[in-house]
């Protein structure tokens, strides 16, 4: 019995010593001023004064070549603003969508800013910024509408969609759990036009189409949260930790100070 008591005391002492050592090591690491994170991409951008941005210029209004031949769009203006904040010039590298990630991997560019949807499968390969735009499907009602605040309120209503679109797909899914009359139109603009005229009660359409219609015609509003999410993000290499941090800081600031809203109004 005495042996067991001694054994227990030794065990307790050992646990206490090991715990103390672990705690000390942790405090040492936490309190020792460490090296700032190293980011060769950020260093190169600062050294050369140029940030190389990959875009696929075939996605108006985010990035496209206008009639005079200029590269323009929401993302292009956003990239210029980021460059201004970082104190560097922006060099656009036009690459087809299939080659965007490869261009980043081989460091031909510093980042991808090209209406790029967040892709969970690639998060072990690249780092994504905060989302700067949600291109998902929205529920839209007339500006004066007060009784529809989410898709749950569509029971018994008249709902319009672009025939064959993802809004159409979503509305057919909703029809599995509730009843409403579904009307299909050739384009989202036509569906939204009919909505504005009061012939239907709601429309499910993609965000860009909704913003574009609102800018040109008004009379509609987004009701409730997005029906689907399709967040656009900026991709960098995983090793570009400083650049990623600066991008995230900038996106938060540009969202808070209304710059992203201005861009939306300007381009959609």
């Amino acid at each position: 019995m005495r042996d067991r008591m001694i054994h227990r005391r030794w065990s307790l002492a050992l646990v206490l010593v090991l715990g103390g050592l672990t705690l000390s090591a942790g405090l040492w690491v936490m309190l020792t001023p460490g090296e700032p994170p190293k980011d060769e991409t950020w260093e190169r951008i600062q050294r050369d004064g140029v940030m190389r941005v990959a875009v696929d210029a075939s996605y108006p209004p985010f990035e496209y070549i206008d009639e005079p031949g200029n590269l323009v769009g929401y993302d292009i203006d956003l990239a210029h603003e980021l460059g201004r904040r970082f104190g560097v010039d922006v060099e656009f590298v036009i690459i087809s969508f299939d080659g965007l990630y490869d261009a980043l991997r081989v460091e031909r560019v510093d980042l991808i800013l090209s209406a790029l949807p967040f892709d969970l499968r690639l998060t072990e390969d690249v780092a994504y910024s905060h989302s700067y735009f949600n291109a998902g499907q929205m529920l839209v009602v007339r500006e004066s509408e007060g009784s529809i605040s989410s898709a749950e309120d569509l029971q018994g209503r008249r709902v319009g969609v672009e025939w064959g679109s993802m809004g159409d797909v979503e509305s057919r899914q909703l029809l599995r759990k509730m009843q409403f009359d579904l009307y299909q139109y050739p384009t989202p603009a036509e569906a939204l036009g009919v909505l504005a005229e009061g012939e239907i009660d709601a429309v499910i359409a993609d965000a860009v189409s909704v913003y574009q219609f609102h800018r040109e015609h008004g009379g509609i509003k987004i009701a409730g949260p997005p029906v689907t999410d399709d967040p656009y993000v900026i991709a960098t290499l995983l090793s570009s930790s400083v650049l990623q941090e600066r991008l995230n800081e900038a996106i938060l600031e540009l969202s808070a100070n209304g710059f992203l809203d201005q861009l939306r109004v300007q381009w959609f």
């Binding site: 075939s58 672009e162 064959g164």
Partner: protein
Amino acid sequence: MIRELLTTRKRELAGYLLRVLVAVAVLAVAGALPKPIIMMGPPRAVESVNGKMGVHTRLTDEVEEWKIQRTLQLVREMGASWIVEYFPWGYIEPTKGQFDWQHADMVVDHAVNQGLKVVARLDFVPEWARPKDTTFRYLDEEHYEDYGDFVHAFVEHFEGRIDYFIIWNEPNLSFEWGYRAVDPEAYTELLKVAYRRAKEANPDCYVLGGGLAPTVAREGNEWGLSDLIFLQRMYDAGAKEYFDILAIHSYGYVYPADDPPADNKINFARAELVHQVMVRNGDGDKRIMVTEGGWNDHPRWTKAVRPYQRIVYTIQAYERAKEWEWCEAFVVWSFRTPVPEKNFRDYYTLVTSAFIVKPIYLEIQNYARGATDWVAGSVR
């Protein structure tokens, strides 16, 4: 004292024994859990007004058997008789002479059970058959016989289940030729090897040459070469006797299915120009299979059309394929992907990764079931 110690020891031993027994029991139960059983079901047949309808499935990276089966059921229920599926050489023969048929067998058996005709695309060079730091599209002449061996093994293994085999994919694009300058003469040599070996395995099989991509790139372009020029050079190199059917890709981009063809334009009817090249080379009786094609309805991609246009154009294209007597089948790219690709390519599919059928699927299904109001009922 000793008695106490012995008793304690016994208790400890009993404790250990009890834990081991519990662990064994847990493992036994876990190991005995029945695996999900996928019943093949009775053989089915496709019912359709148009026997030339096909889709390109993407089952290469689909792991779960029920998803493979469900995909192929949906293909049959839509009314498509043909599927093109990719069988990567590097997956099946990771080591020279050692073949893993498990996944390919699973896909093919389910397809055959659904009454579908399978067209096998054969490429993807394994690491052992190419130099280090090359892409899986890179195959030098030294390894043509290795590819031939694979083709022989594949055709032999699937005799009675697959009759159609595509030799390579889009060899007129540099990317698909291992980022080298495209080389119709070298491709023709590869085709000759593959043809000979396929016929040795099954003289009744059909060897499809090409898989040519539609492009207007001229001679000297670093990215590719016009399909029309590439095909002519194949003939000049003696390809005529080494394929039974020509495989081509035919995308409509922003043009309707009835948009007339032109040398400098990529549209669906470009297939007619390809056929003219065959006629000029005394090969007009040979058929063409469009093994990839169709339209995209991404909301903003500049090469896409509106969703309603995709529906109308796709059905019109199936109709045109029926009218083209030299056309064996029109295969739409693509039916479904195992996971969303999160880019414009998702807007080529007919069914989402979550197995939600898109409106285009339902419209095609109506057409295949004999509906005649698909144009009148569509929004134009």
